[in-house]
């Protein structure tokens, strides 16, 4: 069974003399409770794919089937209702929030808009969501500006799981987190996947992160999907030049005698 089927998606951006083929004939699929890791050079089109999937920008061509529906042709009330099923955690976390909002109101919005829990239970649900992502309940009263970057990222994840989606698109969602908390968030995401069967489209530059959580990995290069395969296979035996270069550039932990920069290309 497939949850998501993306077929021959394309998107160009032109402005003045700048013309970019951000997506060029991209096809991929995702099963329920599956994690697809999406990696690729900066500017290769990963966020564009995510934004089209979120219906934030239109595609130029191609089709998306999500939960059996023609996702790109949904509009109006249908789209609004179905939107709760795909959630996203953005790369640019501060820009994703109203800077005047409190943490509590950020989590209250989706619960109210999509009618997830009755009004009387919302405060408790917000506390539970905060607890799930490792934040104390009293953070609900803080302004979103008064928490650290990493804490903000955890709030974004809490907001995403609030509507009980079947798919969450994570665009560099854990990259600002330190290793110990990142590990906990990854474990949390895996746990939620097991519990609720959530699928993830997991965009990250960090191949070690993708290796930890992905069933399959897809590699993008200049708007094209150049490789897809089981996570272990892609990491251990990359076929494409793009995957090769990305894997070779992963920083290695140096704890012994200095060998000069470990990031030699």
């Amino acid at each position: 069974m497939t949850l998501l089927e993306i077929e021959r998606l394309s998107k160009r951006f032109s402005s003045g003399s700048r013309d970019v083929a951000a997506l060029n004939d991209v096809s991929l699929s995702l099963a329920p409770a599956e994690t697809l890791g999406l990696v690729g050079a900066s500017g290769s089109g990963k966020s564009t794919l995510a934004r089209i999937l979120m219906r934030l920008i239109p595609a130029d061509g191609g089709a998306i089937r999500f939960e059996g529906e023609d996702w790109l042709s949904l509009s109006g009330a249908d789209l609004r209702r179905r939107r709760a099923r795909i959630q996203m955690v953005f790369q640019d976390v501060l820009g994703a929030f109203n800077p005047r909002a409190t943490v509590g109101s950020v989590l209250d919005d989706p619960l109210r808009i999509h009618n997830i829990v009755p009004k009387a239970d919302r405060r408790r649900e917000i506390a539970a969501l905060l607890d799930r992502v490792g934040l104390p309940a009293d953070y609900a009263d803080r302004s979103i500006r008064d928490v650290s970057g990493g804490q903000r990222q955890r709030i974004a994840i809490a907001r995403a799981i609030a509507t009980q989606p079947s798919l969450i698109v994570l665009d560099e969602a854990v990259s600002a987190l330190d290793v110990s908390i990142r590990g906990k968030i990854l474990e949390l995401l895996v746990e939620l996947q097991r519990e609720r069967g959530i699928a993830y489209l997991f965009v990250s530059h960090d191949l070690s992160v993708l290796r930890a959580v992905s069933h399959r990995i897809a590699v993008m290069d200049a708007g094209r999907l150049v490789e897809t395969g089981a996570a272990g296979r892609v990491i251990e035996n990359p076929h494409s030049a793009a995957a090769h270069a990305l894997i070779a550039a992963v920083p290695r932990l140096v704890t012994g005698i200095p060998q000069g920069p470990s990031h030699d290309l």
């Binding site: 050079a41 900066s42 908390i181 530059h205 070690s208 990305l246 550039a249 704890t255």
Partner: protein, 260 residues
Amino acid sequence: MSMLCEIRDLAVTYRSQKVPALTDVNLGIEAGKRLAIIGESGSGKSTLARTLAGLLPAGAKISGNIEWQSGKSPVAGRDLGFVFQDPTSSLNPVLTIGEQVAESARRHLGLSWKDAQIRALEMLERVRIPQPENASRAFPHQLSGGQRQRVAIAAALAARPKILIADEATSALDMVVQAEIVSLLDELVREAGMTLIFITHDIALASGFTDHIAIFKDGSLIESGPTIAILSSPHATYTKTLLASHRDLSTPPLIAEAVI
């Protein structure tokens, strides 16, 4: 060995907060070297960076002191470049990429507008922005996250600052570009004598190229010293935990693969 500054008994408390974001920080920063600042989310890394740059928000209380070797605090933008964790907050949405970078060179190096634009193009090339001529006419929202971050780095470096604070500046970049940016920063330290303060959560990245490392937890400096010494024989339990929880490509995955 010359010092850039000595931080003594520094504590910072944000307005309306009861708990300080930093306490009891004592740290010397060497001029012309590469210092890594490591620590978990909320440990106070950005607070330290903002304090050094004089960019704390109004109402923040500071105690203790920072003694600058030069006798005066560096001017942010001119003497000290700052690349923020979140590139959108440092870029002006209504200026083109070329204008932002050129503006920094014009203001701080006193270049003519024309020379500043040439310098801007040169910087965009050095941070590996593809098609820099075209990109310089684009607006921030037209670039990918990683491209925006490179523009922020270019703008900070355009003024040839003596100190660069990079706050998670490479975490939005792909690993290939990250490696290129890191070697560019490395080169600026070696050739231009710049002091680099590199905030990261990637201990492997820091281990490869920094001279010193300072590890923070809950607003306190846990330990600091030469990178190799700290990472090969850490004293603090926290540092040991950090090293143990490091994940690389050979770490066993959290999921059973190929269930599909």
